[in-house]
């Protein structure tokens, strides 16, 4: 994996986006180095999801550009390097007749290509991904029967199955009970450390997040803070108050520090 000069996993350059008259993002510049674990925080409506969609090339910004692994997103075609887990609620079809195993195997379709079917080595990859999220016991269950937390694990497995180098998670713990979200963060930290995966976690859960990530970016139309976790914690109370418009206590969850 040693390269002389590693391109950043994500580079957002002076990006602005508006829906009609409404400015959602203004001059956002942000770099995510390979191997880092970035927590992207911001209040509701701060443009977090819009930024993610621009990064994934799902939305075209009116100004500025996005590069993934040194390549402009419009030209980027190694999508198997990028895993994406969206907010649970807005996307998938809960009444769909598919088992957890099938849902995870969909993560390989981007790689397998047109007119081709899954091989047995692909099936092994699906099992590995299910193991990574601790869900192999649920492989044959219908996706709609699983709890919100379990479903979200399955979606992570679906993102992991193609061995991405960059994994982007958009508020993955929304609607997931606290206990499972705790173990969920641990799992992410593990992926980051063991598999050297670059992670971007979008969240509004500032307190818990700082125990796991290496870098923090605060977004509210613009980037208000971007630095490592230590710098963030040192400056956080002033930062947060200015940022959310009222005083915020960042609650630290020390029990997870090793």
């Amino acid at each position: 994996m040693e390269k002389k000069l590693k391109n950043p996993a994500i580079f957002v350059d002076d990006l602005s986006f508006h829906y009609g008259e409404k400015n959602v993002l203004e001059h956002v510049t942000m770099e995510v180095k390979q191997g880092s674990f970035l927590g992207l925080v911001g209040p509701n409506g701060s443009g977090k999801s819009t930024l993610i969609k621009c990064i994934l090339g799902l939305l075209k910004p009116q100004q500025g550009s996005v590069s993934l692994f040194g390549e402009k997103v419009q030209k980027f075609n190694k999508w198997e390097k990028v895993g994406y887990v969206s907010q649970k609620a807005n996307s998938f079809n809960t009444a769909f007749p598919a088992t957890a195993f099938e849902v995870v195997s969909m993560g390989l379709f981007g790689k397998v290509g047109l007119f081709r079917f899954l091989k047995s080595s692909d099936k092994e990859k699906v099992w590995d991904a299910l193991k990574a999220v601790n869900m192999e016991a649920f492989a044959n269950r219908n996706i709609g029967e699983l709890s919100g937390g379990q479903q979200q694990r399955i979606f992570i497995a679906r993102a992991l199955v193609s061995d991405p180098e960059l994994l982007i998670l958009d508020e993955p713990t929304v609607g997931v009970d606290i206990e499972s979200s705790e173990s969920f963060y641990k799992m992410l930290k593990n992926l980051h450390r063991e598999n050297k995966m670059t992670l971007v976690l979008v969240t509004h859960d500032v307190g818990v997040m700082t125990n796991y990530v290496t870098d923090v970016a605060c977004l509210n139309k613009q980037i208000h803070f971007h630095g490592n976790t230590k710098e963030f914690e040192e400056s956080s109370s002033e930062n947060m108050s200015a940022f959310y418009g009222h005083h915020v206590h960042v609650i630290h969850h020390d029990h997870d520090h090793e």
Binding site: L56, L58, W79, N90, F96, A98, F109, G110, L114
Partner: protein
């Protein structure tokens, strides 16, 4: 009943028109069953109804020009699909309203054209089907459409699966959701054309939705659902044709009633979803709690 059965089989061996009718209906059962699975899972039941009705003016104009129904139907069907998308995206009119407005307007245009042509007998057959009058050319169109539909679904199974299950995900893989949607609309109009003779325009949507919905109650896997749905489509076509022949009833109505009957059976008796088993289970649980 037994006599009827024997009569039916005798007639089947004797008359070519009945053989053609049976073959065509079975083919229609299969195609509708397969396409229907995607229609219901994409939440497009109403859209299916709309497109199947909207082919009427196209069919009428093709009839007038003496060309195959196929071309006119596909053109007006796709135009309607585009029109619905255009109206709902460019105004505050919601999708279901746009569907309701567009397809009824198209249907009305079709009725006017056919009435002006002064052939109300044809109108009746187009609307309600007349499977016993299937011509050789109709049969081959149906076979062609059937082969095409089965081929497309086999080739693009993965793409259909992903874009139906999770459109956002599909988009992030670079799948063209919009084109998949319109391709499905084209397929829908072709299915309608294929079904014109057997069930007719008005009831096509039943053949799209009912067998697929029945299968949906019985399985948790899309692949199994597709096979089951096609199977229920075949059963409905064969028995529907039988009742239509024996009691001299409109084939569209009898085919749809058979599939409705199968749906009712699945609704009450499906092992995992059936109301009867659910009620029995609830009662058993209650009894165990009381102990």
């Amino acid at each position: 009943m037994n006599m009827n059965m024997i009569d039916f089989f005798e007639a089947l061996f004797q008359y070519e028109f009945l053989q053609k009718a049976l073959f065509t209906s079975v083919m229609v059962g299969v195609i509708c069953g397969i396409v229907g699975c995607f229609i219901i899972l994409r939440g497009m039941s109403l859209m299916g109804d709309a497109i199947s009705h909207a082919v009427l003016p196209g069919v009428a104009i093709s009839y007038m020009l003496g060309i195959s129904f196929f071309f006119g139907a596909v053109i007006t069907g796709v135009l309607t699909a585009i029109g619905i998308g255009y109206v709902s995206q460019n105004s505050r009119i919601k999708h279901d309203m746009a569907i309701g407005i567009m397809f009824t307007s198209m249907f009305a245009v079709g009725i006017v054209i056919i009435t002006l042509m002064k052939s109300s007998a044809d109108l009746y057959h187009i609307l309600f089907g007349n499977v016993l009058a299937v011509r050789m050319s109709d049969m081959w169109i149906t076979v062609g459409i059937g082969v095409l539909v089965i081929g497309l679904v086999t080739l693009f199974y993965k793409e259909l699966l992903v874009s139906t299950f999770d459109p956002t995900m599909a988009q992030s893989y670079g799948l063209p959701n919009k084109w998949i949607h319109y391709a499905l609309m084209v397929v829908l109009t072709m299915v309608t054309v294929a079904s014109l003779q057997t069930v007719g325009i008005v009831l096509v949507v039943a053949m799209l939705i009912t067998p697929a919905a029945t299968a949906y109650l019985l399985t948790n896997r899309l692949s199994v659902m597709i096979y089951l749905s096609a199977f229920f489509g075949i059963i409905a076509s064969v028995f529907g044709l039988y009742f239509s022949f024996i009691y001299n009833l409109a084939s569209g109505a009898t085919i749809v009633l058979v599939s409705a009957f199968m749906f009712a059976m699945a609704f009450f008796f499906s092992p995992s979803q059936g109301l009867v088993w659910k009620a029995l289970k609830a009662r058993k649980n209650r009894a165990e709690l009381m102990r």
